[in-house]
Structures are given as C-alpha cells and as structure tokens.
Amino acid sequence: MKKKKLGTLILSALLLIGVLAGCGNSADGGNKSAAGSLDAIKKRGKLIVGVFSDKPPFGFTDEKGNYIGFDNDLAKRFAKDLLGDESKVEFVPVEPASRIPYLQSDKVDLILANMTVTDARKEQVDFTNPTMKVATQVLVSDKSGIKTLDDLKGKKIIVTKGTTADIYLTEHRKDVELIKYDKNTESLQALKDGRGDGYAQDNFILISWAKDNPGFHLIDEKLEKEAPIAPAVKKGNTELRDWVNKELQTLGKEHYLIELYNKYVKDALGADTDPYEVITEDGKI
C-alpha cells in the first residue's frame, strides 16, 4: 500500500516536470515559425499589441474601455498603415513585468508600452528605433523629509515590478527597503495610503500624477541618466522591426509623434516643456 502511494508521488512529480518541459519546448518552437512575421500578421488581419491600460498619458482606457493614449494611438496608426484600417489592432493589456514574457511566448506581435531600452532587455527582445526619452526619478511625500537620493537610505520606497526603477534600485541600492507591486495604479494607491515614503518610476508618469495629487514632490536628482523608450518585437523578428523603423521615419516627416504629444502628453507635463525634450522623431538614440 505504502509503496503504491510513493509511486504515485514520484509519478506526479515526473508528470509535472514533463508538462513544464513541454511548455518550454513549444514556446521555443514558436521562434522558427515566426508568429509575429509580417505575413502572419497580414494573414490574421490584425496586429496584436501589448499596451498599458493604467498609465496615462501613455497607455490608458477611456470611460468606455477604449484604449487611448500616446502609445495606444500610435499602435492604431501602425495598424492603419500596415493593414489599412486602424480598427485592425488587438490590444492586450500588459504590466511592466509581463511585457517581455508576452513577447517571448508569442502572445503579442509588438510591445508598445512605454518600455525603456536597457542592455539587459536588449538581450531578451529587439527594440525598434525610439519614440521618446525618459529618466527615472523618485516622488516623495512632502512629510517624508527626503531631499536627496542619499536620504533614501533605510526608507521604504515603492516600485512597480519590472520597471527600470525597480531594476536600478534592486541592484544598486541595497540600503533601500523596496515594496514591489504588479501595477502602476497599485503603487500609486500605496504611495497615497502612506505605505512607503516614496515611489520611484519614469518621471513623466510621476509628474502627471503629482499634478492631481498635492502633497508630493519629485526629488530633482535623477536615479539614472536619460534613456530612450522604444517599441519592442520578439528577438529575431527583424522583419517587423524594420517595418516599424521605416514607419517611424515616415511618421517623423509628418510630425505625427508631436501631434500625439500635443494631444495627450502636453497637459500632463505642462505647456512650458519642450516637446523635443521628450519626443524622439528622427529615430536616433
């Protein structure tokens, strides 16, 4: 009796490992079949894009649940120029930490979710030319008494999992106690509820939120120097990457990104910000 039970135990362990290994293999096989190739997208008749749904002004939804914002409108424009109609886009809401896994497992063709280009990420996915520049900063409550980055020592700082701020602080500031949430909205709510002394994130998101929420201010010092933000495709999908690069060039000529900036980002950052400090039109990093 006991032997039988033990056998079941070992069998179930083996089974699970087998299933897991199987998952890995099929995802790997997807590499060759190129699920995100231009042909596959055209055949399918829609472009599948991973976007943010809770990060105004870049990716968010209106009251009716339509995806809008700088990145999301750009995705619609891509669909229009690739497939002839801006409705031929399927939005998949992603979180910062799920962006790369979604590309790797072929759940989306393209990630257009305010993703900063970093060396580590370049090893995992292929970035197209950038659309923006961003720096990470820390938003702190006025009561916290934090004035410089050195003051962060021993403080509780909120980050959203998988953001550049999370990666930087985890690796370089072991003296800071990090509280990690999956979603930007959760992090902001936690900051508001006083669960941390500050929130480290891309500065545009912080500036835009702080406008509506008094009692918080940005630390002037930046965590890292400015870095480009770019759309990303699955590693090896040069076909789609080259198409996006060409498309960005065309859009640059008609200043489409500036148009989107004026529509969404200008109000959030204030009219005195020079759009060219934020937007990259010529495609150069």
């Binding site: 897991l20 890995g24 930490a97 790369i100 998988g162 999370d166 709510q189 936690a190 509820d193």
Partner: protein, 221 residues
C-alpha cells in the same frame, strides 16, 4: 530551450526563504482558521441566538467572495476610511476570514453526519448538553471531518500565492520579481513549481497517512 541552471542554483536560498514564509503564513492561517471554526461550530451547535446569524453571514460571505477581492478591500479600500493595516495583518485577517468560513462548513457537515440516536442516547443517559458535545458528538464529528478538513488545509496553503498581490514576499512574489528583473521566465517558474511540489507532495502524503490512521476503525484495513 536552454535552462540557465547556474542562475537557478544561485537563487535557491531566496526560494527557500520565500517557501518558508509561504509555509508559515499558511500554517498560522490554518491554526487561526481552526480556532475560529471551533468557536463557530460550538455557536451553531448550541444555537446561540444573534451570534448564530453572524456566523452564518460570515460563512456565506467568506465562501462566496474571492480571496483576492477580500485582500484588495482590506488593503486598498480601508485606508480611505482611515484604517491602515500592514500587509501581514491584512493577509492574516483575510486568510482567517476565508479559512474560518470553509472550516466551519467542514465541521458543520461533520456534526450533521453524527446520527441523531447518538445525541438522544447521550441525553437519555443524563449527560448535559455540554458533556454531550464534548464527549459524544465532537469526537465523532471530528473524525468524520478529517478528510475534508485536510483537503481544506491544502487549499488554504495554496491560497497563500494570492497574498503576493499585497507585496508579501512569498514564493509567487519572489518568482515574479526575479522574472521581471532578469527575464528568466522558465527558470523561475520551474523553481517555483519545484518548491510547491517539495512542500505539497510530502504534506499530502503525510496527511493521507494520518487520515488513514483515524479511519482505521471504520475502514477495517
């Protein structure tokens, strides 16, 4: 697919630590839930007025709302009315709320399964209602409840994955943190699954052994 086994071995200590936290949260939640369920069962058995209604209401709410919603309500909802609880407090309240509800149902079905003649015979022998509950009904009901109770132990332990949502660094939180930092998706998911298997397979084995012992009289092995 090439697994980065070096990366996996390097992070074994973190996973051991996280698994320890998952287990302690689960273990404490089970003990708290058991205490709640015992008190509730007594209330239901003795038909205590008012309290009886409260227990029924709790059981229904606990069994019909998802744990994640209970956590979010306590963690993000309550601060708006000025009550700020720490993640750990929120986790224990929510898990005890959930576990208490489920365990009470388990005990209730156990109590119902004890034949009426047992209670009648006890009363005929002149036992007080308290003695009847303590010496006649409880021991039998408990034995009947064991299989369902153990299944619920495992259920509650598995529910600990959900507490990662309120930033408690247990196994799932650790896994998703590493995935988001180093993009080692398959490696970290494999590590997590192995950890859960190491915890749960021996545990269910142990529990079914105990179960068998207690059912000895009834099954006749």
């Amino acid at each position: 697919m090439q697994l980065d086994t070096d990366f996996m071995t390097r992070h074994i200590p973190d996973f051991v630590h996280a698994a320890g936290l998952s287990l302690s949260i689960g273990g404490i939640a089970i003990l708290l839930s058991l205490s709640v369920a015992c008190i509730y069962s007594a209330i239901l058995f003795f038909q205590v007025p008012i309290l009886k209604g409260f227990v029924r209401a709790h059981v229904e709410v606990a069994r019909n709302t998802p744990l994640l919603i209970q956590l979010f309500f306590l963690y993000y909802g309550l601060p708006s009315i000025g009550i700020k609880l720490s993640s750990m407090t929120v986790v224990f309240i929510a898990m005890t709320f959930l576990g208490g509800g489920y365990f009470t149902e388990v005990f209730r079905s156990g109590l119902d399964a004890v034949t009426k003649t047992q209670a009648e015979s006890g009363l005929a022998l002149g036992l007080s209602r308290m003695q009847l509950f303590r010496y006649v009904i409880m021991p039998q009901a408990f034995r009947i409840s064991i299989p369902a109770l153990f299944a619920n132990f495992i259920f509650l332990l598995k529910e600990t994955t959900i507490v990662s949502a309120v930033a408690v660094p247990e196994l799932l939180y650790t896994t998703t943190s590493y995935i988001s930092l180093y993009y080692k998706t398959y490696e970290m998911l494999l590590m997590m699954t192995i950890c859960y298997l190491i915890i749960f397979l021996p545990l269910s084995f142990l529990l079914s052994c105990i179960e068998r012992r207690y059912q000895y009289g009834t099954h006749g092995h």
